[in-house]
Assembly symmetry: C2
């Protein structure tokens, strides 16, 4: 249903619209109305609403007569207010015509100024203002804008002619041309127009007006605008409004001018007035960069009265909108006019500073301030960034797997990485793909570059967890480990050559590009403290080592949601024992290896529990398939064979027997726990002993034991029965019969979600393992999906990466089902998530609706998750 | 609530119970009542119902006084009927006491005969019958039974003494002992009893009775019975009834006897009276095998009157029960008495014959007959079986992956299999596991034996489809391909040694064990025809080649539900082209290979469509990951490199780039279709051209194009848009613009099930790929799960194999969700299933409830599925 009103007038203290009518009037129109209502100096005007744009398109790009009639009446109304007449040679009324959609859309037609100008009104304006130069300057501007915007004439034709005229006149700036010279410009511009469009420049102001309005409406359907909407997911049926506004003139002489300003510094957030202006100019001059604008403070000296008005407006608008404003203004003979205001774009650092200052200044509540910061952007503050002034030569582009910017020397094996690092070199580890065996070398490297693997490949996950930079799946790279070289496009790089990675964009650059280090400022700390007061879901970190745990605590983690015990198995002094455990010929051999591993594990857990004293620590029992711990088939096995007292051939056979076609779906997780119960028993014993010791030292250890990969309630029951008695046995030896260690499970295969009601009978908590759950729900291996997911993204078959953002309609359905079924069995079941998506704000909003107990992400994403959980809680309270 | 009645009497034409009261009276009691009501000669008696058993257990194994009172009254009633008195020395009443649960339970106490016998009644019975020998014979039988059954005395003590006495007396059979000798036996038996139980043999008949009833009730709770119930999933709260029945005496002399008979031959189903009997004996003599029973026809000569009565009973019971009966009878001085009747166990062949004959004879309707045959057992008729008389030495046991019994010479590579087969040898292919590359060798072999892989491994699936025998996952086997030998336990076997596989049990036997060939008889054909008239779901076959399709048709398949196009790619003349297509450096190379593959595929499809003219043929586009078609990394690549005009190193690199960590979750199915659209385009072109040609030749081709591995509606839409236009282009070239080829998709990843409503918008049909769906729902790789699934079965963690039977609570939930969501979008959406489980009767019952359109299984399971779908439909109609 089209509203009957087709034109919304605005004038000082009396506008038909207001800021809340953004959908109908567009952002620009709504704010012009709002400012008018506030009594601010906005030139009178009116807005044709967005629904007229759709009506126009449906009518075959025709303006209907009744709209024209209403617009004509509105123009007359403006004439009455301004004591002028549209098209009158005596007192001509000129207007600006500007587009304005709900969301800012650079893909659309923007502005035509000075509409209503023709040969007669130009002469009239000259007479009226006693300033022919001004009138001609205004006319030549109008001809250029109308020609380029409405008729698509090439702007350069006009620019070149103007330059030619200036050269001829021997002046540098447009404003130095005198009336005669400008008359020539006008005449030449009209000639250009006639030549390019094969018709005379239109002299009828109404005809000009209808053409301009039609052009704005048509620009909504332009290819450029459509593409922009597709990328930014803006619906086609929003349409654009048209704003028609009485002209005020910044080009009226030395006491006139035009400018843009920000109510605070948009780079730093500092409370200082920030902007630039040009004297004797119109708006497009600032943008075009023909003359160099002056910084705002100079205006205070040049036109102090106008500046004082602007200062007043600045505070009024900031307080009124509760946000930093980006303002366009014009000064006509010392009087200030506002042409536009909108919330200012800003850097992340500025956003933080602004949010906290606004609360201090009483402009915003804490809750409002929390919602003003984009959580996703926080990550930028936590990693080094490229120095924007540095030169960069991009050789290739991979997936932006872990943010940060880092330079280092190329090495091709984990072993080399460690050697170079001990020499004090910065290295980038370059691999086809990384594996758990590479951990040592990865630790020693500044960043990783891989040819294969996606956003959640081994390299990517480890990188994000370690807070290192990673570019993964760089498919144009060809590595020859043997030759210690690689091809990046046509560029050959050898071991030791410098490259720089930018992990937020996936760029791989030649040489050492300078970077800037970031630090966690006071503003973010304040915001995170507020977040914790506001959030419903807690934020934990995924951390395997005491050092990871320390980082996590420093970023405000409220516990550990996932400690992967297997990462402790790769240490140099443990791996041989792990291998012996796996390859044991009999139980005695296995038990002996496990007995020797136990004190190592116990020590790790003790440190971890101490670091996180008072906070829950969820420890996942061994998960990956055993052969991940085994030597590669090509590796020299003689040493290992000797160690185990067997032949190399025998060893090779036993390793071969453990090989699997699809290890991700193989003999791992709780399956291993059931077929070789001694492993989990050892781990539970180590956890319990560590807990006892930590408590003896006065700590508050809160371990939670998590069993991975459960798909059947019977798996969990079987293991829990067995492991809980190990736990009780250890505790009772210490006389701690009243202590209880909670047991829970990962929900990471679809069957666990489908039977969550049964599984909940045996679980004290659930934790969504959304990495594996996404893999099995889609049937995508995260190691192998990069090859087709890139095509999927390009073809818009799968617009999101489901490994970084929860796939709401597929995986999300299973999460919903799980929480519903699980809490049907146990109303107070604790449910968390420890997959990659736990650190993603959009996913966190989804999880808020499921009322999860906590999210657990990599330490470096904890601040993001803290803010995002607070925002999600606030939005949810608003909606319910 | 306990019913007030605690004793159910039965006597000729007047019983408290009937056959429908099986739950309360147990099988035996219900049938005794039923036969009494029919006026058949059943000795009068009564049944203590099953709920009393539970009451007994709850009362701490005590018979309560009120029950004893009612039983005593019932005994008095029997006395009145028989004109005898329990415990009376003049006219003693003797009874039998037998257990009888709802289901037959060999784990329980069975029978005590002649209860009521003591020193006095023995003497009295001797006087009354004027046959002391008979009385003593009866007494000694009672003592032995009571002692062994009630007090658990070792039976051998009695048997040994009896043998001793017979030796002493110089006679061969029990019935040859005279009264004096039997008196000695009785005395000695009483001494044994006293010695073993430390008390005198009880002389009070009531005391005997209470002990016997208590023993029956206690036997329900025995460890043996509990174990049996656990295995056969019989609830503990069913309880057993106790049947107390007036004794009739088969041991009263030469005109008395006892026997068992079947109303038809239980081995063949032939309509001939079948059974055996002993003269002058009681029931346990037949079972004990002390004397050799005579075949039933002899009875006609020995005791013609009794035989005539039996013949009459035979027909009466068969017609009354509508099933072949297994009858126990006793003849007392030429009068027939019936002690028990029940449905007879039979072979599969007999079951078929009986079902069809009963319909012919008007005893059963077709529907009733269809429900009488166990569909699972049909498989036995379709594969050769081991000759039961042959000697067998079992060396190892694997998984029963594909039924049949087959002997052959061991070979260790597919290539050797082909060489030996062309020499006319029968070979068994023995491999760690098979791969698609082995297809040629598998075709040439009689059966497959693998060390790894489960019931749905490559070897198992191919075997079932080809109807070959397979034993998979034989983990005790150690193969050395290099030495051409293997170890099976401690046994070494070399290439060329004979082994025999039994695919229904998983046994691997040494040498060549003789087998029997099976054939599809008339009875099964009749039954299958009736099945097709009755079923709601159609039965299709999974068949890839015209020869598979012919087999499928001969077994009654109503279409092809899954033709895997990739199997056509492994032919010797095609593989190089396929490899060229995959390894192509550019589009030209790829197109050239595809152009040359097209006529091959078209030819295959043409033959397939002709063979199945008039029936739907669902053709699945290429599914497996491309590297399955590539040479193994170890293989000599020089020839291939030459063929492709490249270097071996280059080729090796390109092959390496295609390798995947988890190919099952990798770049395959529709993902490949999207990244390399030319492949599917070629296939669709081939299908369409084949259809056109087939129609030109007068056939009725009904192809359906199926897109595999869809998880996103957008995948299907993208492909369908593209492929349908290829289809239309081909059809319009032939002027067939009105023809439509349906497009559908597999539902085989959880996300497809979860978003079936969206996917249904772009699909004409769904087909459940429950193999892959089971893999992804559980997160089990079928190639790698054997190692832990065996432990799961042993520990009762997963009692079923989800790859052979639909996992109702997990995978089944997704199937339900899919049908519901899919049909919300399209009410008439055709939905089938083509996974392994489609041939399993239990799974078919589950699918019936989902109202699927069809099931599609391997050709050799088609008959089973035909019968199972009919049964499922009948059961469903009964329940709704």
């Amino acid at each position: 249903m089209t509203p009957t009103k087709r034109v919304y007038l605005f004038q000082k203290n009396a506008a038909d619209g207001n800021a809340s009518m953004r959908d109908l009037l567009g952002g620009k129109g709504a704010n012009l109305a709002e400012m008018s209502n506030l009594g601010l100096p906005v030139p009178p005007g009116f807005t044709i609403p967005t629904n007229e744009c759709l009506h126009f398109a449906r009518s075959g790009d025709a303006l209907d007569e009744s709209l024209k009639k209403e617009v004509s009446q509105a123009i007359d109304k403006l004439g009455q207010i301004m004591d002028a007449t549209f098209g009158s040679p005596e007192k001509p009324l000129l207007v600006s015509v500007r587009s304005g959609a709900r969301a800012s859309m650079p893909g659309m037609m923007d502005t035509i100024l000075n509409l209503g100008m023709n040969d007669e009104t130009c002469a009239g304006l000259g007479r009226l203002t006693d300033n022919l130069r001004f009138a001609l300057d205004t006319y030549r501007r109008f001809i250029e804008m109308f020609a380029t915007v409405v008729d698509g004439v090439d702007r350069h034709l006009f620019e070149d002619l103007l330059t030619e005229q200036k050269t001829k006149a021997g002046v540098k700036e447009d404003s130095d041309l005198n009336a005669d010279q400008l008359q020539n410009v006008v005449t030449s511009f009209q000639e250009i127009y006639e030549k390019e469009t094969s018709r005379k420049f239109p002299q009828d102001p109404k005809e000009q007006l209808w053409s301009a309005i039609s052009a704005v409406f048509q620009s909504w359907g332009s290819a450029r605008a459509k593409k922009y909407r597709e990328i930014h997911k803006i619906p086609d049926d929003w349409g654009t409004a048209v704003n028609i506004c009485t002209m005020v003139y910044g080009n009226m002489g030395p006491t006139s001018g035009t400018g843009v300003c920000f109510t605070r510094n948009p780079s730093t957030g500092e409370n200082s007035f920030y902007g630039e202006y040009l004297i004797n100019a119109q708006g497009e001059d600032v943008v075009a960069g023909v003359r160099t604008p002056r910084p705002l403070p100079s205006l205070q000296e040049e036109l102090p009265a106008a500046y004082a008005q602007l200062e007043e407006v600045r505070h009024k608008l900031e307080r009124h909108y509760g946000d930093v404003q980006d303002i366009e203004f014009t000064i006509q003979e010392e009087s200030l006019y506002l042409l536009q205001t909108r919330n200012a774009k800003r850097t992340t650092a500025a956003a933080l500073k602004i949010a906290t200052s606004f609360v201090e200044e009483g402009i915003l509540t804490r809750e409002e301030a929390l919602l003003r910061v984009n959580a996703d952007e926080l990550e930028r503050l936590l990693h080094p960034t490229l120095d924007p002034r540095a030169h960069r030569q991009v050789l290739a582009r991979g997936l932006p797997a872990s943010p940060g910017a880092v330079a280092g020397k190329v090495v091709f094996t984990a072993a080399e990485a460690e050697i170079w690092a001990t020499r004090g070199e910065d290295v980038i580890l370059v691999r086809e793909e990384t594996s758990p065996e590479d951990i040592g070398g990865m630790h020693a490297s500044k960043g990783f570059l891989t040819a294969r693997g996606g956003m959640t490949s081994h390299a990517a996950v480890v990188a994000r967890q370690m807070g290192k930079t990673c570019v993964a799946g760089c498919s144009s790279m060809r590595i020859s480990v043997a030759k210690k070289s690689m091809m990046l496009g046509s560029h050959e790089l050898k071991e030791g050559d410098w490259i720089t990675l930018e992990g937020s964009t996936g760029e791989v650059m030649l040489g050492k590009v300078a970077t800037q280090q970031a630090s966690l400022g006071e503003d973010i700390k304040t915001l995170l403290a507020w977040s914790q007061e506001t959030q419903d879901m807690r934020v934990r970190a995924n951390a395997d080592t005491p050092s990871d745990a320390k980082t996590a605590r420093s970023f405000g983690a409220q516990g550990i949601g996932l400690c992967r015990t297997e990462h402790m198995f790769f240490d140099e002094d443990r791996l041989p024992l792990v291998r012996q455990m796996i390859l044991a010929k009999n139980n005695d051999e296995r038990t002996s290896a496990l007995d020797r591993l136990l004190p190592h594990q116990q020590g790790d857990f003790e440190q971890l529990l101490e670091t996180m004293s008072g906070y829950p620590v969820t420890i996942r029992l061994l998960d990956p398939p055993l052969h991940e711990f085994l030597p590669h088939p090509q590796e020299d096995l003689s040493h290992l064979a000797e160690l185990f007292g067997t032949s190399e051939g025998d060893l090779r056979d036993r390793i071969g027997q453990l090989a699997e076609q699809n290890p991700m779906l193989g003999h791992r997780g709780c399956r291993l726990g059931i077929t070789q119960p001694a492993i989990y028993e050892m781990q539970v014993r180590a956890i319990t002993r560590a807990t006892v010791n930590c408590r003896k030292k006065g700590g508050q250890p809160l371990p939670e034991i998590m069993i991975p990969l459960v798909g059947l309630a019977s798996e969990l029951k079987w293991l829990r029965d067995r492991l809980e008695s190990v736990c009780k046995e250890e505790l009772s030896q210490e006389g701690l019969n009243d202590q209880v260690v909670p047991f829970g499970t990962m929900i990471e295969v679809p069957r666990a979600a489908l039977t969550a009601d049964e599984i909940a009978n045996h679980a004290d908590f659930f934790s969504f393992g959304t990495n594996d759950l996404t893999q099995t729900t889609f049937g995508f291996s995260r190691d192998d999906s990069a090859s087709f997911l890139r095509v999927y993204e390009k073809e818009a078959i799968l617009p999101i990466d489901p490994f970084s953002k929860i796939d709401a309609s597929g995986v999300g359905k299973l999460l919903k089902m799980t929480t519903k079924l699980g809490r049907e069995t146990k109303g107070d079941l604790k449910i968390g998530i420890c997959g990659e998506q736990a650190g993603d704000p959009e996913s966190i909003r989804f999880l808020q609706e499921l009322q999860l107990s906590y999210v657990s992400c990599s330490p470096f994403r904890v601040p993001i998750a803290q803010l995002a959980t607070a925002q999600a809680a606030l939005l949810s309270r608003k909606n319910h």
